[in-house]
Amino acid sequence: MQNQQPLHVASPLRQSLPLTKEAGTAVYLKLDSSQPTGSFKIRGIGHLCQTVGAPGSPVCVRRRAQGIEPEPEPCLSRPSTGGNAGMAAAYSARQLGVPATIVVPSVTPDLTVERLRDQGATVVVHGKALNDSIVHGQQLVENNPGWVFISPFDDPLIWEGHSSLVKELQQELREKPGAIVLSGLRRAAWGDVPVVAMETRGAHSLNAAVKAGELVTLPEITSVATTLGLARVSERTFALVQEHPVFSEVVTDQDAVAAVERFIDDEKILVEPACGAALAAVYSGVLRRLQEEGKLAEPLGGPVVVVVCGGNNISVQQLQKLKQQLGLPGGGHQAGPA
């Protein structure tokens, strides 16, 4: 595959009849779960790596000379052990034929480390929290000429990469959507189409900021949706709320995990709880409530698009554990005989 081609794929967009029935309005799914590396992250990170990391790329040289390596997020009370960004970076580097070193905190599960190594990355385990890993990563870049630091979060190039999703929607959908539903908030601006930004309680940094009218740092991330687990949203994300109609909504971990379970049966796709938060907008009736409250039109002017962001860090066994931990029905025993 050539370097000029994007590293992400144009992901499938399809109508879901079960979710349409549930929501009472047409629901389309943007299946970023079927991206290489299993999550939407490759869009942004792939674009960033392609721009700064390609060998001999003039952009790469200029960026380094200007010293504008992206700053990490300032506050993270608990490490995100999801590793979806790391996976995306490792995959991108392999496709581009450049070496990758991924620095992860010691709490990262062995399976995640193994998956990163399978992608050909060198994995360095350093520090207890993601902050330590980020600092160590930046030191590595300082000490090794030619290395580039890839921020897991908020580089403008990551945002630019994520905007490809909306471009695809504009090509595929014949009509403007009535709303776009996401986990967390990313650039998904399409004119005046409202964005429903879903979070779980305990990882609701955007909702807390929206309510306070300013950036807020959560004291702790307590949700199981660890890949949503930013204690503080970035300035950029917060600014988006001011520019664009965004409804910030919060569901419980139980809602998110129940949504994950129903989604397997309805659409045959297993996603992380962070992605389940977006699905819960349909399954837990958030969209209907927003319509009742007059925040969303009824009927909606177009279909609802739910961005299925995917995520690697889930298996049937982990889902079972989460159900047990959250006291959901069927969580007390393994499905099927042992």
Binding site: L31, I269, V271, I314, G336, P337
Partner: protein, 335 residues
């Protein structure tokens, strides 16, 4: 090939690191599960129904779902005739897709006879599940897509597919011809007890199975279509017919759900088992595939007739014969 008005999408072609590790060559997955109808069937059926005034089909499975979806998109009436043995869930799903569901007879043959009668008397387009040149032509588009995704420098070492009635097989053969890849071996996977293609290949003639004893019901044609058998006899093609047990297919479904996070039917699991149960390695050991194999292209055909409860039931049913423990599916067989 030009398709005036098609309803399938260009599905992602994904590299599976987990599967590549097992086989020792790069494995690409053509994710047909992400089609609008949940399986590859929509390619051929969308193509077949271009000139239709109304559609009749006797499949309660993936072909029926695809036919109903195509009809809805084209604004055409669809009648799906299914036997009384069909689960209520199937009826519901087809109705949700906008189809008229007619229950006729006790077994599929009765329903199919009624569908053929309706096609005749009402002037409807009969959609066969697998045996029609237009279906094969539609299915062929997946190989052209895969070739475009892989780029001009990559040619697969083999294509792995599941075989039920042979519709996908005929489509893949045509697709390989279209892109000039006739020398690429096709590994045609079936389960024991739904092995009409393998039986025909071994006998050197079409054979009708007495019964379908496999849980991979979507592979459950008793006789493979004539064209698929003819393809197996061609000297310029290399079609390798292989069987796996239901346990191996189920193990593949479970492993795929954990590693690739997609739930597929047992029928699709048969193809995946070529990787997970070491069929590829066995073929290499037997020198039927080269030891240094170019990338493997696995068609993930998808399928909607599965959910977590059915998966648990299958585990329960097949469990007594399992040789590995409950959690062994998360570990690779070959390391």
């Amino acid at each position: 090939m030009i398709m005036a008005n098609h309803f399938h999408i260009n599905t992602p072609l994904l590299e599976s690191v987990n599967m590549s590790k097992r086989v020792g060559t790069t494995v690409y997955l053509k994710m047909e599960n992400s089609q609008p109808s949940g399986s590859f069937k929509i390619r051929g059926i969308g193509h077949l129904c271009q000139q239709s005034k109304g559609i009749v089909c006797s499949s309660g499975g993936n072909a029926g779902m695809a036919a109903a979806l195509v009809a809805r998109k084209m604004g055409l009436p669809a009648t799906i005739v299914i036997p009384s043995s069909s689960p209520e869930l199937v009826v519901q799903r087809l109705q949700d897709q906008g189809a008229t569901v007619k229950i006729s007879g006790k077994v599929w043959d009765d329903a199919n006879a009624e569908a053929l009668r309706l096609a005749e008397t009402e002037g409807l387009t009969y959609v066969p599940p697998f045996d029609h040149p237009l279906l094969w032509q539609g299915h062929a588009s997946m190989i052209a897509e895969a070739a475009a995704s892989l780029g001009p420098d990559v040619k697969p070492g083999a294509v792995v597919i599941s075989v039920g009635g042979g519709g996908l097989l005929c489509g893949v053969v045509q697709g390989l011809q279209d892109v000039g890849w006739t020398d690429v071996p096709i590994i045609a996977m079936e389960t024991d007890g739904a092995n009409c293609f393998n039986t025909a290949v071994k006998a050197g003639r079409l054979v009708t199975l007495d019964d379908i004893t496999s849980e991979a019901k979507c592979l459950g044609a008793k006789t493979v279509c004539q064209k698929a058998f003819e393809q197996s006899q061609r000297k310029d093609l290399n079609i390798i017919s292989e069987l796996v047990s239901d346990q191996q297919a189920l193990h593949a479904v479970q492993t795929f759900l954990d590693e690739e996070r997609v739930l597929v039917e047992m029928a699709c699991g048969a193809a995946l088992a070529a990787v997970y149960s070491g069929i590829i390695r066995k073929l290499q050991d037997e020198s039927r595939l080269p030891a240094l194999l170019r990338p493997l292209l696995v068609i993930v055909c998808g399928g909607s007739s599965i959910n977590m409860e059915q998966l648990a039931n299958l585990k329960h049913k097949l469990n007594s014969m399992l040789t590995f423990n409950e959690h062994s599916f998360i570990k690779p067989i070959y390391t």
